[in-house]
Symmetry: C2
Subunit: 421 residues, 2 copies
């Protein structure tokens, strides 16, 4: 891959390098009414609406004047990957050291570059349907060992189906949105007399989510090989879970209120195009996939995922897990193909969570449930306290980034704090 240098100063270790150019929605002056679409580069947000007004996109005919003057990326994404990738490439070019067109207009630059610290981010899309998968083998095995059978942890369907379920779209919130510890029905394992009280087993789930950019018709089926055209890119995703609410409610129809109180999404959507250098082939599998799930493309991605906790007493975040998106058993194309295999339509702005991404070792697990092994091995923190599950005031921070040779493409941070009631 060709080396790219920008005239803008960007530190080498920056998530938002010239190779990345992720998209998001931001506002300034504490005024949500000013929200518009942007792209991140270094410590700046590129105001795409201003870039449009100055005519820098005039050769991309599919863009109408107000396409970036919106508080969600849905309409932009709906133009399809070919248009969105042209926009990304155009932005990239404008910031290259050898390109003078923007560099030579300091008056434009002043309007177009917004320092990131002076802006607030919104959810990048208006969420349509939200699905959460369960596609990490190590996570499924860990959960199976804890709750099912130490020696036979996987259910018979797991290696045949990208297991998934529908989740709540209304409670998907952007990074930085804090929320109160939820109440729900709790029932001790040896009892059948529940109470309605605050969850005592608050957990995070380390996930990534992909966002779709097409509306398909009722009955239309995607294959792993054509699903890629229906996905723009990925974000970090925290599927907060109240394990005690979930335990009592989930039989027989699955998780409901144990999940629906909040799910957090990082504000910058990184395109599959930017992630292409980090694609990996699928892992070896001992169970053959049915034909409709066979995928010839490389669609696993080498993305490092770090999880930090910061309690109210701690001065800085403390690393508790290092996982990677490459640990997925089913990839995102197989997930989307499976989702449509019965003819279910997808929409622009659907969110598909990967499921908790755990790696093979105890320091790469993607939830407190696994890290503390159901509370039997509490984690020691630098402030002298222990954690089996999360306490009020705890902040959970995910960082995600891919690195190869000189190229770094990252997602920034996803944070959320559990507030007391």
């Amino acid at each position: 891959m060709r080396e790219l240098k920008s005239w803008l100063e960007i530190t080498k270790s920056h998530d938002f390098s010239i190779y990345n150019i992720p998209f998001g929605v931001f506002y300034t002056n504490q005024n949500q009414n000013t929200a518009r679409c942007g792209a991140a580069i270094g410590d700046y947000i590129i105001d795409l609406n201003e870039l449009m007004r100055y005519g820098y996109f005039k050769e991309i005919k599919e863009l109408h004047n107000e396409i970036f003057n919106q508080n969600a990326l849905n309409e932009f994404f709906s133009l399809g990957n070919s248009v969105c990738n042209s926009v990304r490439e155009k932005i990239q070019n404008l910031f290259l050291v050898e390109n003078n067109s923007l560099k030579s207009h300091p008056d434009h630059i002043e309007k177009i570059l917004v320092p990131s610290h002076s802006a607030k981010m919104m959810l990048p899309i208006k969420v349509k349907d939200y699905v959460d998968f369960y596609s990490s083998l190590d996570h499924a095995v860990n959960v199976g060992k804890m709750f099912r059978d130490e020696k036979n942890p996987l259910l018979p369907n797991w290696k045949h189906i990208p297991i998934g379920y529908h989740g709540r779209s209304s409670s998907i919130v952007v990074s930085g949105t804090n929320f109160k510890r939820p109440k729900g029905q709790l029932c001790a394992p040896d009892s059948n007399e529940p109470t309605y009280s605050y969850s005592k087993q608050m957990d995070f789930e380390l996930e990534m989510a992909f966002i779709t950019n097409k509306n398909t018709a009722l009955g239309e089926v995607l294959t792993p090989d054509n699903a890629k055209n229906s996905i723009f890119g990925l974000t970090l995703f925290n599927d907060w879970s109240a394990r005690d609410i979930q335990r009592w409610e989930y039989v027989p129809l699955g998780p409901f209120l144990g999940k629906s109180f909040a799910s957090s999404m990082s504000p910058w959507v990184v395109s599959l195009e930017a992630l292409a250098p980090f694609a990996l082939p699928a892992p070896e599998k001992d169970t053959p996939e049915l034909d409709y799930l066979k995928c010839s493309a490389k669609a696993h991605y080498d993305i490092c995922l770090d999880v930090y906790i910061q309690t109210e007493k701690m001065k800085e975040p403390f690393l508790i897990s290092q996982s990677n998106y490459k640990y997925m058993y089913w990839n995102l194309l197989q997930q989307l193909a499976h989702m449509t295999s019965n003819g279910t339509p997808i929409s622009v702005g659907d969110v598909y969570g990967s499921g908790t991404i755990s790696g093979p070792t105890a320091n790469s697990y993607g939830s407190m449930l696994e890290l503390s092994w159901k509370g039997t091995k509490p984690i020691s923190l630098p402030d002298g306290t222990n954690r089996s599950f999360l306490q009020d005031g705890d902040s959970i921070i995910f960082n995600g980034y891919a690195i190869k040779d000189n190229i770094r493409v990252g997602f920034g941070s996803l944070t959320g704090i559990i507030l007391s009631n």
Copy 2:
């Protein structure tokens, strides 16, 4: 209740009596771009946009000029029940025999009344989140007897929680939308080797659905006593199910593709206000409800629900079940209170399915699964064929209506046909 007589001819047995005035979205001239909001009365649709233009709503200040010139009722519903009920009452008054204001303007009437047969109906709302409950005791007991334990059919949580799960919003379609038999992973009960093929166990589920008219904030909790202000009304609902897809996929995270291929909704939303005369107290319960689910209002409703089948060979529909919405164990206010009990926000246009509504006797079951008792007692049809599950070309028709004294308030029909591939 006061007797109401209209100057418009409406047959006595009409679902859309002067007591009803349900709301929907229709279009004419085969042109979806002409879609606007309407209300049903007798064999006519009242074009609410025209009624607005002629000034008949001028005393209702909350209505802006374009409120009915839309292809969904979301914005109208979002005005709240007090405004929506004023609109309903105003319409009712305009059609009363003693009211001359519309009656004396044949030129207005000609524009305002559209013969129902000349219009097509659309989905009444843009669906936000969709939840399906599992709140009929007889249905849960039947399913438990078939798949769990004949003598101990109910799971321990069932009488404590209005069990529910999130479903697919993108495949909710209006009555009359036919769909192809879905494919999916099928696996014989004694095997662990699935195939990807057409479902052989297509079923309907007799349900009703309520629609919400509020956006609540993250963390806001509704109670059964204030939930009523967040619900406009009800429709008939068919949660089509592919039992064989569902069986293999649903452990441990619940139904997914066995349900998501299509769900059908009747086009007319009947207000809780119109259904008030048919409200009933809750059934006797042997298990006390937790305080957050206690409901002082009468919120069970006596609504007759008839299910018909019509095969390709049959000349007319054949009645296969007669159930009633009153057979619900958890009422709609308890369902909504439970849904928000962990702080999950609701939105204008959410759809909440009741779950299959089965009555206590074998001729009141709400699914083929129960009517044919898992295929062991196939139903004999007038065309000489039998049915355990549905065949290609089969049409399923739900009718719903409440009757008391001289008052009839109905939902019209909900139909759908399973097409071959």
